[in-house]
Symmetry: C2
Subunit: 496 residues, 2 copies
């Protein structure tokens, strides 16, 4: 079986143990590891690294595609391996270390990390550690359920450690489209002109001499943690479907809409699932992570094609999809995250981007990352790549958190990830605010009336009106702007 | 002379007075007007519109490329013509009306306005009012010293009013490259692959039947208001030159650097002028406005080519350039602002973007627009188009304003136009902070030590250290974050 997966036979003598491979990673190194939203992460070597560090402490700069599964970030954090970490994470233990200032975390637009590597503004990568379905006859690396940054990591790294994962279906081969932009300033256009465009190779082309070790594993990807749609997320989906219908009626969209992107997580996943019941057809996705909802839409016949950088599924959906992967394969493509999230392609295709906000303010600025403007949750991820360049930039959130003690609509967000310029539509379970071509004072009325929870609407309107009476294009009372957050820090509730 | 300029003879009977042309504009219309950073603005019709409105009140939505000259925004504001205005302005009277909430101003990324028009999310444009050097034999409109949004305005408008400006040199013809992206989702790559790329037509192709009126003028463009370099701007230029030299030494750049963009205004202009004395050569610009510094660099032989959307010069420089325009013409190109500022092209070319900040915070977030987070100055302009997509995103500012009563480095900016993710380098006269690949706590040390004025350094470090002691990835004390701004509002100074 390993013989089928390592087809360049001269590499067979590189097969070794995770421990031996982990021993190659030395203190101070920069390591690029596969993994994007729990999919296709290296699973054996990082765990061996954590074990080794407990005996012989060392630390590294770890760069990934996005988040990892299998508590790997927790284990590496607990073992003190992480000095620096980028560009995204979702682990509770690592998050605490970041917020203590123990791990230096660099939160980046997901399309940009490899640009920095390619121009030597980051790196060089000492070791790329990438999961693979197979190594081709030529020594090309065939990724698994994600590409993320792995292609550029492998191409740019001094040395490569490959994890051949036997639990990943062999027929993932052919799914991937590896296209790497050329060096600047002589770069040529990225030739992707449709969700379906195949413009690269089905494997990562590398010099096989760079492969320092191969580890064989059979550990499955961690399953996604998205929750089922509930009343709130269904209401959000309903408002958005009504909005899309209105766009169709106005002649701005037809029933095939424009290519769709949905951020990771329960709300965006539920919204997409909601489209199963809409009048839309021949939909396409140009997204980063393909979640359960993508396959619900494919099964319903509503979605005809999906392009992403990873496939991250619940246990049930995973069995359904990977148990009969040939049924889906010709309607799917995985790309490097630089391409799935590339401003050039997103703007060209006119993607409709649907991303989740932590909180929004009355003028349409979005906080996606920082609780109370101070404590990092996960990271901006790809939301900025999409929101800035989208045909329509939509943010979704429930209007309340913590059993109503927190309003997701606030006077001013204490951390801005997406500015007012990049936000077209905000949707909560209460309604939808269409902010296109509105001035800030007009946006405030829309957001307060349509998005805020009734429990907080009056207080928001009171703030806005008192601020507006003082004047300004974007009226604020700076002494009060964060009073809801500071009150909640003291009393546990934003309510006065 | 008019005969040479209106070469499609059937249009000669459309020539009329500014007053008659202005009479075509009716209450409630959407008007797209030429003009970008004072260059190539329509000069006769808007003034006639203001005069008319004093007799018969009416108001419109006015969309331009960027700012206008000749006090036109003042006159239109005073006459009550402006109900809505986008995407940029610099006029004191209009600014006051915006901040009173009397004019609804929509602040947009300059590359995006015509995308909204093309997808019917804005408009339709009832009248385009565009200044022209000439109308070709086929009825094509040859722009003057700017293109801005005029090409798409004319193409998308129901009707067009042309101002033929005899004071604009006839040999501007051939300078322009009009390329309009195709409709989404079937758009093809924008074929610009170098500053020099010519990919379109030298005129705006329109149906001549749409030309409703032609007005002949001879009023010159308003001159730029940039000030000469001073000690502070020279220090900023010096720090930046040292940084570029360091990048060359590190092998990340060569002495031709990457294509340069510089925002409008005295500081960015001075920084660019400073490159005359550096070791760099064969420089290129891919910018939006070409200012005096562009021609200083061309004259010095350091700059070999400049692409922009407008040419905006001081009186002295204007005489030098337009008095011998053939000397410069083959080293210049003007493009629609959608193309000069297009994310696709900026990212492809790897532009070095140099833009001016109003204030910066200790974590690298930038306020470009709002005094005290409330009062609009001008608008974000193209700074977001460049900062997000640049190879290097650099922000410049003097560390003090109002004779030292205001620090341009503050604990938290009360309005964010550019998030920490989009800022690589900040420069003041005190020094340069290289923020690449740094976590927020590391950035704070760099910004406070290198950019803040010594008078405020200790207070900033005190804030940062007390905030960091409380924890968080981006430590803040929300109760105090705006205390410098509120103190200044009360006492006139940020000093405690």
């Amino acid at each position: 079986m390993v013989n089928d997966r390592i087809r360049l036979k001269s590499l067979l003598d590189k097969v070794t143990t995770p421990e031996a491979a982990a021993d190659l990673i030395k203190d101070g190194m920069v390591v690029g590891m596969s993994g994007f939203t729990r999919a296709g992460d290296a699973k054996a070597v990082p765990i061996a690294m954590a074990a080794k560090a407990k005996e012989q402490p060392f630390n590294i700069t770890l760069i990934t595609g996005a988040s990892l599964g299998h508590d790997i970030d927790r284990m590496l954090t607990e073992a003190g391996v992480l000095a620096r970490r980028m560009p995204f994470q979702v682990d509770r233990t690592l998050r605490a270390a970041i917020n203590r200032g123990d791990v230096m975390f660099i939160d980046q637009h997901l399309s940009e990390t490899v640009e920095h590597l390619r121009s030597n503004q980051l790196g060089p990568i000492d070791y790329a550690v990438v999961e693979a379905t197979a190594i081709s006859e030529e020594g090309g690396i065939v990724p698994t359920t994600s590409i993320g940054n792995s292609a550029s990591f492998a191409i740019l790294a001094k040395k490569i450690i490959v994890e051949i994962n036997l639990s990943q279906p062999a027929n993932l081969e052919g799914l991937h489209d590896i296209y790497i932009p050329t060096k600047r300033p002589t770069r040529t256009p990225i030739p992707v002109v449709a969700c379906e465009s195949r413009v690269g190779l089905p494997y990562v082309p590398i010099d096989p001499e760079k492969i320092a070790a191969i580890v064989v594993t059979d550990k499955k990807d961690s399953f996604s943690t998205v929750e089922a749609p509930d009343e709130g997320t269904q209401a959000i989906a309903g408002h958005l479907i009504d909005f899309f219908k209105g766009e169709v009626d106005a002649g701005r969209l037809d029933l095939t809409l424009q290519p769709l992107q949905a951020g990771i997580g329960t709300i965006a996943n539920s919204v997409l699932t909601g489209l199963v019941d809409g009048p839309f057809h021949d939909l396409r996705m140009y997204s980063e992570v393909l979640q359960d909802s993508t396959f619900d839409l494919l099964d319903s016949g509503k979605l005809v094609f999906a392009s992403g950088s990873s496939i991250t599924l619940s246990a049930a959906c995973s069995e359904r999809v990977f148990g009969q992967f040939e049924k889906y394969k010709d309607r799917l493509i995985l790309r490097p995250q630089e391409i799935s999230n590339h401003p050039e392609v997103i703007r060209r295709l006119g993607v409709i981007g649907i991303n989740t906000a932590l909180e929004v303010d009355i003028y349409g600025n979005i906080n996606s990352t920082h609780v109370n403007g101070t404590h990092m949750m996960n990271g901006i991820g790809g939301s900025g790549d999409f929101a800035r360049n989208a045909y329509l930039s939509i943010f979704v959130t429930k209007s309340l958190a913590k059993e109503g003690r927190i309003s997701s609509v606030v006077p001013m967000v204490p951390h801005v990830d997406h500015t007012e310029h990049d936000v077209d539509v905000i949707v909560t379970e209460n309604g939808l605010a269409d902010l296109r071509q509105l001035a800030p004072r007009e946006r405030a009325e829309q957001i307060i009336q349509h998005c805020a929870h009734p429990d907080y609407r009056e207080a928001l309107m009171d703030y806005f009106q008192r601020a507006a009476a003082r004047g300004g294009h974007t009226p604020h009372i700076l002494e009060e702007a964060f009073s809801w957050h500071t009150r909640q820090q003291v009393t546990g509730s934003m309510k006065a």
